[in-house]
Symmetry: C2
Subunit: 300 residues, 2 copies
């Protein structure tokens, strides 16, 4: 296994101004793994589902050649998120969260996963991320995602786990909340002192930046006015990054930059339809075309 | 004359968390012209000052080879802006505006200016911008800047003058206010239907975009945590664009992109000190170094 994705596997019931879905496939590990699957077929997913998890969903993931040895199926109900987006869909409003079997999620990396050189901890409670990282191979490239809830309620635990990763994915609000700094540049520099060598900064419609001690790289968002459902955009971004890195197997500045471009492109497709409907239909040629356009957009 | 810059010539009294100045040289035409002066010495400034305008200031502008035939000096007081910036300095708070001789500003383009192929209307009342544009050469490249105040109070006049320009400079708040649209991409597309062929979209710390019917170009802000005073940043951005275009004399996509990069770089220097203190000291080699770094920041 080259790449392990850990996080939530969820059923999403949500509405946007463009429609709604009920109990559609979602979750941070799922979105990240599906995005990564366009770059490598040596990836495994770690998560947990309940007895109500529709059979079609593992089938879909397997069709993307995602290894599901790490996906536990236990007595109880699958994590169910209910939410909605209004207006410009910038903010997700949570209506109901039923943790179900996710409440006692205690991720175990199967033996085949423990030597993976790339590990991604999707957005889950920081303490659980810590348990995952403790099982990951020494010297592996570790990246984590998080959210405003954990920054507000478990900042100490989050900071502890930040010390153990190579990279972190944060959006502009999260990085300000975590550092108490308004300037994004200063905030990113402050994160670099907390442990991670790289910050992948998500700026929403303003694009994304990769910030390291000796690195500053920026890309615009892929311009689209066809956003139907922003759910999973951040996970697809992270998944594109990790998939590209795992496929390339190296961590030079050029690899990291290319990886971020893959993240931007995957997330631009992800938001064009509900659940994974757009992403699973993706062709490599479509990804390459947007990578090319993204490059053209920043050339002068 | 290749380039004409019209706008305010002001004395600025302002404070930021990093210091303060009293009656320092400022104004939209001044900042734009000084930025442009690093690319062309065939530019003229159109504005008006009062009897209190310190002699050192025209001297400074002349040292940058800016032609001042269009700078009227009349009985009365120079436009005086008093303001402050707090916290992250994202918003200018106006404490007092003394229009002085600017209240009756009726710009006349000297004969030598009337054939200029590049004309910039800095942020002044839209009706006055209209008077300037009526005097500009047919077929000249015309760009204008504006502000939230005119969008709120003189939208009809602004829309009328927008029909007469080739390009407009707007920040994210202004473009949303002017179009009523939240998505910046949709908002820019809507502006393209109002007349301008190009929108230069200022996204603050997120960079800038050039949007045309068949063009989308994006650059990050030059990353600096050394912002002392944001006054004039937008004018320097516009001035860098217009100066670069006037020097190149062409309007291909490559010229427009290079011009925007010059705008980003000039504005990055402008904010590093009060008034024009940093900008007037600039060397061509410093501009080139940042252009090079900006290019490196977006290459993958």
């Amino acid at each position: 296994m080259k790449l392990v994705m850990v996080g939530s596997v969820a059923l999403d019931t949500l509405a946007t101004p463009h429609g709604s879905v009920k109990r559609a496939l979602g979750g941070s590990a799922v979105h990240a793994a599906v995005a990564a699957s366009f770059f490598t077929d040596r990836l495994g997913l770690v998560g947990v589902v309940g007895e109500d998890f529709p059979e079609a969903f593992p089938k879909l993931l397997k069709s993307r050649k995602i290894n599901l040895e790490g996906l536990g199926s236990v007595k109880g109900k699958t994590f169910h998120w209910q939410g909605r987006y209004k207006g410009d869909m910038a903010v997700a409003e949570t209506l109901k969260t039923e943790l179900g079997v996710f409440a006692t999620f205690d991720p175990k990396l199967p033996a085949a996963y423990q030597s993976a050189p790339f590990v991604f901890c999707g957005n889950i409670i920081p303490e659980i991320q810590g348990k995952v990282l403790a099982q990951a191979a020494r010297g592996s490239f570790k990246m984590l995602d998080t959210m405003n809830l954990w920054i507000a309620t478990r900042k100490a635990a989050l900071k502890k786990v930040l010390r153990k990763v190579d990279a972190v994915v944060l959006n502009d609000q999260e990085i300000r909340q975590l550092t108490g700094l308004t300037s994004l540049i200063r905030a990113a520099q402050s994160i670099l002192k907390m442990g991670p060598k790289y910050v992948f900064l998500k700026r929403g419609e303003h694009g994304a930046s990769l910030i390291g001690k000796h690195e500053y790289f920026h890309l615009p968002a892929y311009p689209t006015d066809a956003v139907k459902d922003p759910t999973g955009a951040g996970d697809s971004f992270a998944g594109g990054i990790m998939g590209s890195l795992a496929a390339r197997g190296r961590l030079t500045a050029a690899d990291l930059r290319k990886a971020m471009a893959c993240g931007v492109v995957l997330s631009s497709f992800q938001v064009e339809d509900f659940s994974l409907w757009r992403t699973v239909k993706l062709k490599k040629s479509e990804i390459d075309a947007r990578l090319k356009r993204l490059r053209a957009m920043t050339t002068f």
